[in-house]
C-alpha cells in the first residue's frame, strides 16, 4: 500500500508539470468545450452503465480533463480492478481477497471499507478499450523520470496517433532530455507529417523516414509512391512521389536482407531442435549400431523430469530449468543403462529383434507415464528469461526460447565432441565401435563401455527433453513425434558421425523453413522427406560417411 501511495504521489508531481504545459499550449477550440476537472465525478460515474463505445468516448473525455486523478481510474480499469456497486451504481477500485472486495474511492484514493464480490460488477473492457486505455495511460507516463518508461510511452502513443497526441508529443519533444526518446518522437511525428497538406512538409518527412524499417512507414510510403487513383489514396505531387519511390527502394533492399536473415535464424532454431533430438541417437544408433525405437520416450522422460522438478520447486521456476538439465540427464541415462543391461545387450547383432524389443519398450514407457501422470498433457511453465523475443530491429526479431535452443544445442554438441575425442571413455567407445574383438584383446571392458555409451546417448536424449518441454506439449506422445525426425537426421548426416548430425540437422531445418512460406507447413515437410529419399538413393551412407576401416564397423 505504501509503495502504491508513493507511486501515486510521484506521478502527481510529475504530472503537474506536464499538465501545466499542456494547459498552457493546447488552446481549446471554440465551441467544443473541453471537459474540466469539475466534471470528473460525473464522467467516472458514467463508466458504470456505459456500453463499450460509450466508454471509449468517456475515456477520451477523461483524458482531456488533464486531471492527475484520472490515471488511477484508467489504470484500475485496465487491470480489471474497477467495480460498480450493484446497490447504488457507485464506482470503486477494488482488490479481491477471498470473495471480499477491499474497496477504495477512485477519486480520493481513500479506503471505503469492503463489500462482497457478489454485490459488485466489474467494469468490462474489450480489446479496443484496452488499446485506448494503454494509449491514454502512455500520455501520463511521458512525464516519468525513467527514460525507458518514457520510451515505451512514446511507442505506445504512436500506435494510435490523433491531433491531440501529436500536440502532446510536440510539447514533449521541446523538453525531452534523452536523445533516444527524441529520435522516437521525431520518427513518429514525421510519420504524421506524411499526411500534411503542405508539399514541403511531406517531402521533408519522406526524407526523414528514408531509413526507417517501421511497417507503418512502409505502408504509407507504398501508398505515396503512386498517383491518386479512384477510391485509392495516393500522392499528388510528383517530387514527393519520386522521393517516396527512392526511399522505398532502399527500405525494400534492407527488408529482403533481414527476411533472409530471419529465415536462416528460424531454420537454425528448427535445425537445433532436430539436432538435439538426434544427437543422442547419433551415439546409440550411429556409434553403437543399436536401433533404439524407445529413444523418443527417453526424451519424454526428460520432459517429465522437468515437470517434476518444477513441481518440487514452484517458487523458483527460473532456476528449475537449469536444475532439470542434470536431473533429466541422470533419469534418462539410468533408464538407458537399464535398457542396455536388461534388453539390448542380449540382442547385439540382431537388428530386427532389437527394433521390435525397443518398440515394445517404448509402448510400455508411454503407458507407464500415462498411468503415473494421467493421459493429459502436463503444463510446464516457461521461466520469464525464456519468454519474449529479442527485437534486433523493426523487422527482425527472434524469440528467446529459440535463441537459447541454438546456443544450448551447440553447447551440448561441443560437450559430446569433447567427451568422444578427449576422454578415456570416448577413446574406448571409439575403439569398441571400430573393432570390438581387438578392443577386448587390449583389455577394454567392452560390456562396461557398451552400457556407458548407451547411458550417455540416453542421457543426452533426456537433456533434449528438457529443451522440448519449452517448445511443445509435455505428454505421453511427445517422443513419438520426434523419433522419425531423429532417425532422419542421423541417416542424412551420416551414421556414426556426430558432426554429420549437427550439420545435417541444421541443413534440414533451414531447408524446411525456407520452403515453408511458399509451400505451407504440410507440403514443406513432404518436400523435405522426398528430398531425403532421393538423397539416400544417391548417397546411402549420408552426407559424411565413415571412411576407411571405421566404415566396416
Amino acid at each position: 500500500m505504501l509503495s502504491r501511495l508513493q507511486r501515486w504521489h510521484d506521478l502527481k508531481l510529475a504530472f503537474a508539470g506536464l499538465a501545466s504545459l499542456m494547459l498552457a499550449s493546447t488552446a481549446t477550440p471554440a465551441g467544443a468545450v473541453a471537459p474540466e476537472t469539475g466534471d470528473l465525478p460525473e464522467l467516472v460515474g458514467g463508466l458504470a452503465t456505459a456500453s463499450y463505445s460509450e466508454k471509449q468516448a468517456l475515456i477520451k473525455q477523461l483524458v482531456q480533463t488533464h486531471d492527475p486523478r484520472v490515471r488511477g481510474v484508467l489504470d484500475a480499469m485496465l487491470e480489471g480492478k474497477l467495480y460498480s456497486r450493484t446497490s447504488d451504481g457507485r464506482l470503486f477500485i477494488a482488490a479481491e481477497n477471498n470473495d471480499v472486495l477491499d474497496i477504495t474511492d477512485p477519486l480520493t484514493g481513500k479506503p471505503a471499507g469492503s463489500m462482497q464480490s457478489g454485490d459488485a460488477g466489474k467494469i468490462g473492457i474489450n480489446n479496443q478499450l484496452r488499446k485506448t486505455l494503454r494509449v491514454a495511460l502512455a500520455q501520463f507516463d511521458l512525464a516519468s523520470t525513467d527514460v525507458n518508461v518514457r520510451l515505451e510511452a512514446v511507442r505506445e502513443m504512436l500506435r494510435a496517433v490523433d491531433t491531440e497526441s501529436i500536440a502532446v508529443l510536440h510539447e514533449r519533444l521541446a523538453v525531452e532530455p534523452s536523445s533516444a526518446v527524441k529520435r522516437e518522437i521525431r520518427a513518429g511525428l514525421a510519420l504524421a507529417d506524411l499526411d500534411s497538406s503542405e508539399v514541403s512538409v511531406r517531402l521533408a518527412a519522406v526524407k526523414t523516414l528514408a531509413e526507417s524499417l517501421n511497417v507503418d512507414v512502409y505502408n504509407r510510403l507504398t501508398a505515396m509512391s503512386q498517383a491518386p487513383a479512384e477510391g485509392e489514396a495516393g500522392e499528388g505531387d510528383p517530387a514527393v512521389r519520386a522521393a517516396a519511390k527512392k526511399a522505398l527502394r532502399t527500405i525494400d533492399r534492407k527488408r529482403s536482407f533481414y527476411s533472409i536473415a530471419q529465415t536462416l535464424l528460424y531454420g537454425l532454431s528448427q535445425g537445433s531442435v532436430l539436432v538435439l533430438a538426434a544427437i543422442g541417437l547419433a551415439i546409440t544408433f550411429g556409434v553403437m549400431g543399436v536401433i533404439n525405437m524407445a529413444h523418443g520416450e527417453l526424451m519424454m522422460l526428460g520432459a517429465y523430469s522437468t515437470y517434476v522438478v518444477q513441481l518440487l520447486m514452484p517458487q523458483h521456476i527460473g532456476a528449475s530449468i537449469l536444475v532439470a538439465i542434470p536431473v533429466a540427464f541422470l533419469v534418462s541415462g539410468l533408464v538407458g543403462i537399464a535398457i542396455e543391461r536388461g534388453i539390448v545387450r542380449h540382442l547385439y547383432g540382431r537388428p530386427l529383434e532389437t527394433l521390435l524389443a525397443t518398440f515394445g519398450l517404448s509402448l510400455i514407457l508411454q503407458q507407464a507415464v500415462r498411468d503415473i501422470f494421467s493421459a493429459n498433457n502436463r503444463p510446464v511453465e516457461t521461466p520469464s528469461w525464456l519468454a519474449g523475443s529479442l527485437q534486433i530491429n523493426e523487422v527482425l526479431a527472434i524469440t528467446y526460447n529459440r535463441l537459447y535452443i541454438i546456443v544450448f544445442t551447440f553447447a551440448v554438441f561441443l560437450l559430446l565432441l569433447a567427451i568422444l575425442k578427449r576422454t578415456r571413455l570416448g577413446l574406448e567407445v571409439r575403439a569398441v565401435s571400430q573393432n570390438r574383438g581387438m578392443a577386448k584383446a587390449m583389455g577394454i571392458r567392452t560390456e562396461w563401455v557398451d552400457a556407458m555409451t548407451f547411458g550417455l546417448g540416453s542421457g543426452i536424449a533426456g537433456i533434449a527433453g528438457v529443451a522440448l518441454s519449452q517448445l511443445t506439449n509435455v505428454g505421453p506422445n511427445l517422443g513419438q513425434s520426434y523419433i522419425v525426425d531423429s532417425f532422419m537426421v542421423v541417416v542424412f548426416g551420416g551414421v556414426g558421425n556426430v558432426w554429420g548430425t549437427e550439420i545435417g540437422g541444421n541443413a534440414l531445418g533451414v531447408v524446411n523453413q525456407a520452403l515453408e512460406p511458399y509451400a505451407g507447413a504440410v507440403l514443406a515437410k513432404i518436400f523435405v522427406l522426398v528430398f531425403l529419399i532421393l538423397f539416400i538413393q544417391r548417397r546411402p551412407r549420408g552426407m559424411f560417411p565413415q571412411k576407411g576401416r571405421a566404415a566396416d564397423g
Partner: protein, 427 residues
C-alpha cells in the same frame, strides 16, 4: 475359507445376480460413446461424466416412464473404426434406446452408417462443419452459421477487421469451415488478396515462421484478425509463440472455434488475454440456471475446480430433449422419439431456449468471449436471439437450393430445383 462360507458367498452371489437381472429388465439403457483413452480422451471424458450426471439426476427424480435409466459406457479409444464397432455393439447387443457420443467429425462419419442401418438415435454435442443431416442424428452442437459466421460478422462490424488469416489444422472440419468462411467473406466484399488460408498438421509445434507470416500479413496497414480452427495440442505452442512474438490481441485478435475453458485450464492464460473465442455457451455467463448447474456439476464431480464448457452444455440440452421426447411419446421406440423431437424445446443454461428444428439441428445463441487471465471468458458480444442451425450453408455455391427437412420432406439432402432427394448422407 470353509465350506459354509463358500456356500454363503455363492448364495449371496446368486441373489445379487438375480436382482441385477431383475433390475435390468425394467431399466432404459442409455449408451455413452465417448473416447476414454487415446488423444481425444482429454475432451471426451468430461462429456461422459456429464451424461452420467444427467442419468443420475433423472434417476433421483424417479427415472423415466417409471423405469430407472442405466448407462452403458463403452470406450472407442480415439480410434475411428472402433467407434463404428462400439456403436454396433451398443445398438445390436446392448439394445440401448439412445446414444450420446462422438467428438471429432471423422468419428461421427464412422458411426453414421451403423446408426442408419440399425435405426438408432445419436445425440452429437460438438460444434462441427455442417454439410450433413441424418435422420438418426440430432446435432446439438453449433453448425457453421451458429459459430463461425457470427464470429466473423462481429470482427467485421464491431472491430473493423479488413484482412483475414484463416489458420487451421489439416483435416475435414477446418477445411470445410474455411471454405464456407472464404465464400462468405468474398460475398461481403473482402478482396481475395486480403485473405490467406493456411493449414498445419495435427500436433504442430514449430510455429515460428507461421506466426511471423501472420505478423507480416497483418502489418499491411489494415486491421487484421486470425480465425483459428487449430485443434487439440497444437494450440498451446501456437499461443505461446503469439505471446513470444508479441502479437497482441489489441492489434491482431485471434478468434478460435476449438479453444474453450477446458483447453485453457492446462495453460498459462496471461499472454492470451484479449484473444477471442466464439461459442454458444461460456462457463462465466451469469444466469441463475448456469450458476446452479455449475454448483451441481462440482458436487457431482467432487471437484470445485472442474470446468464446464460448450459441448457439455450441448450434451445437457441433448439429454433433456431426449427425456422430453420420451415423455411425450410415452415410449423409447427410436422411430417415435425421432418423429417427436422436431419442435420440442428445452431451456439452455444461458437463459434462452433450444428448439429442435426439422433439419435435426437446434437453435442456439452465439457468444463472443475474450480470454481472461484466469482462463475464463468475458462475453463482449452476443446475438439478440437464438440462431437456427443450418445443415447446408447457403454461402457455398454447391449447396444452393439444398434443404434438410425430416418433418415434411423426410429428407436430409433435398434439391429444391430438381426435386430430388439425394439420400440423407449424400457426398
Amino acid at each position: 475359507m470353509n465350506r459354509g462360507n463358500v456356500l454363503k458367498w455363492a448364495v449371496a452371489g446368486a441373489v445379487t445376480l438375480a436382482s441385477m437381472t431383475a433390475a435390468a429388465e425394467d431399466t432404459i439403457k442409455v449408451g455413452v460413446l465417448h473416447s476414454l483413452s487415446g488423444t481425444m480422451a482429454i475432451s471426451e471424458t468430461t462429456l461422459k461424466d456429464t451424461v452420467l450426471m444427467m442419468i443420475d439426476e433423472q434417476n433421483k427424480k424417479g427415472g423415466l416412464l417409471g423405469k430407472k435409466l442405466e448407462a452403458v459406457v463403452v470406450d472407442p479409444a480415439s480410434n475411428w473404426p472402433l467407434f463404428a464397432e462400439k456403436a454396433a455393439e451398443l445398438l445390436e447387443k446392448d439394445k440401448v434406446s439412445v446414444v450420446f457420443g462422438c467428438w471429432t467429425s471423422v468419428s461421427r462419419k464412422s458411426v453414421l452408417p451403423v446408426f442408419e442401418k440399425d435405426d438408432g438415435l445419436l445425440f452429437y454435442p460438438v460444434q462441427y462443419e455442417g454439410e450433413e443431416s441424418s435422420k438418426n442424428v440430432i446435432y446439438t452442437g453449433a453448425a457453421p452459421n451458429q459459430q463461425a459466421i457470427p464470429a466473423v460478422d462481429y470482427l467485421m462490424k464491431e472491430v473493423g477487421v479488413k484482412r483475414w488469416v484463416l489458420e487451421g489444422t489439416d483435416y475435414v472440419y477446418p477445411r470445410t469451415t474455411n471454405k464456407i468462411l472464404q465464400a462468405y467473406l468474398l460475398q461481403k466484399g473482402v478482396k481475395a488478396e486480403d485473405i490467406i488460408v493456411n493449414y498445419t498438421p495435427f500436433g504442430f509445434s514449430d510455429w515460428a515462421s507461421e506466426v511471423s507470416k501472420i505478423k507480416k500479413f497483418g502489418s499491411a496497414g489494415k486491421k487484421t484478425a486470425v480465425v483459428s480452427t487449430i485443434n487439440g495440442d497444437a494450440n498451446v505452442p501456437f499461443y505461446k509463440e503469439l505471446g513470444n512474438q508479441k502479437i497482441s490481441a489489441e492489434d491482431t485478435p485471434v478468434v478460435a472455434f476449438s479453444v474453450g475453458e477446458e483447453e485453457l485450464s492446462g495453460l498459462d492464460a496471461k499472454p492470451l488475454v484479449g484473444h477471442l473465442a466464439a461459442w454458444n455457451y461460456f462457463m462465466s455467463i451469469d444466469t441463475p440456471a448456469n450458476k446452479e448447474w455449475i454448483k451441481k456439476w462440482h458436487a457431482f464431480t467432487k471437484n470445485p475446480k472442474r470446468t464446464f464448457n460448450d459441448p457439455m452444455e450441448a450434451s445437457v440440452i441433448g439429454f433433456q430433449l431426449w427425456v422430453k421426447a420420451v415423455e411425450k411419446t410415452g415410449s423409447t421406440d427410436t422411430e417415435k422419439v425421432i418423429a417427436a423431437l422436431p419442435g420440442l424445446s428445452v431451456g439452455n443454461l444461458t437463459g434462452g431456449t433450444a428448439t429442435v428444428l426439422p433439419n435435426h439441428h437446434i437453435t442456439k445463441p452465439v457468444y463472443i468471449g475474450e480470454i481472461r487471465e484466469d482462463g475464463q471468458f468475458d462475453v463482449v458480444w452476443k446475438t439478440d436471439k437464438e440462431i437456427p442451425g443450418e445443415a447446408w450453408s447457403h454461402y457455398l455455391p454447391s449447396d444452393k437450393g439444398i434443404t434438410a427437412d425430416w418433418v415434411k420432406l423426410k429428407c436430409g439432402n433435398y434439391n429444391e430445383e430438381t426435386k430430388v432427394c439425394s439420400g440423407q448422407n449424400f457426398k
